[in-house]
Amino acid sequence: MDTELVGTLERRIARRPLRVVVIEALGPLTMLAGVIWAIAQPYRLVFLHPEGKGFYDWLAQPPLLVVAVGVFFAAAIAPGIVEDLRGERRP
């Protein structure tokens, strides 16, 4: 691997404060929890077993709800917080 690229990545990670890393990780970790749950309990996903299922079964599939919350947080909430954290660090 290109050592210059690795060095640049290392410097970028080292420069990111812990709070930014945690905020950026909350959404993906929530999504990951939902994916792991879906793999562990596939019977809680209606589209894998659609026979005899109604509207509410399609609406509330718990692992997908967890993934949706993670996506929402990562897309709508986290970017603004990270921007404000970076703004706080600028002189």
């Binding site: 509410y56 609406l59 509330a60 949706a68 929402f72 947080f73 909430i77 404000d84």
Partner: protein, 192 residues
């Protein structure tokens, strides 16, 4: 066409998961950064209030006994009370940090409602276990808002309060009407 009880619980679990993430993010970055955007200040109080409002139709239309209706109505009232006081604090209508104790009171009453309306012991069924676990979680976690009132900037109190709602979400997601593991229906409840 009414949803099964477990489906309603999962939808509320989703709301609590979101609530927990908002609070955890606020605990991590601190109040100064969190309040840099005005709309973020209203985020979790607004969500708590909305969850309280949404609990009313559940209490009225989807409960099967007076006891359950009263319990759900008390959760609706306490969630709205907690949301309202926090909205008023965010708006500046209330100024004393001691108003945070209203959240503590709400959690105590909610926890008591869980414990009082569950008449079976812990291991009677999954539902009974979850009622006891949810009730005691709320009663014990009612200490966190007290800590927040005393030390509003403490990460431990704020993160503890946030984690409470994540735990509540997990417990509500575990709810099943009937399930192969620890989810049998008692003969007393009509199982053959």
């Amino acid at each position: 066409m009414t949803p099964r009880a477990e489906i309603v619980h999962w939808l509320f679990a989703t709301g609590f998961l979101l609530l927990g993430l908002f609070l955890l993010a606020e605990a991590v970055v601190g109040q100064e950064v969190w309040r840099k955007r005005r709309w973020r200040v209203y985020l979790w109080p607004g969500l708590a209030f909305a969850l309280g409002v949404l609990l009313w139709p559940v209490a009225v239309f989807f409960t099967s006994s007076t006891l359950h209706m009263l319990a759900h109505a008390s959760w609706a009232e306490t969630a709205m009370l907690a949301g309202t006081t926090q909205l008023a604090l965010a708006r500046g209508r209330l100024e004393s940090r001691w108003w945070t104790l209203a959240v503590s009171l709400s959690m105590l009453v909610s926890g008591a409602a869980f414990l009082i309306h569950e008449q079976n012991p812990w291991l009677f069924s999954r539902s009974a276990f979850l009622h006891h676990a949810l009730g005691w979680t709320l009663v014990v976690a009612a200490l966190f808002p007290v800590g927040q009132a005393i030390r509003p900037r403490s990460f431990a109190w704020n993160a503890g309060f946030a984690t409470t709602w994540l735990v509540m979400a997990v417990l509500l997601y575990c709810d099943r009407d009937v399930a192969p593991i620890f989810g049998h229906l008692s003969p007393l409840a009509g199982a053959r």
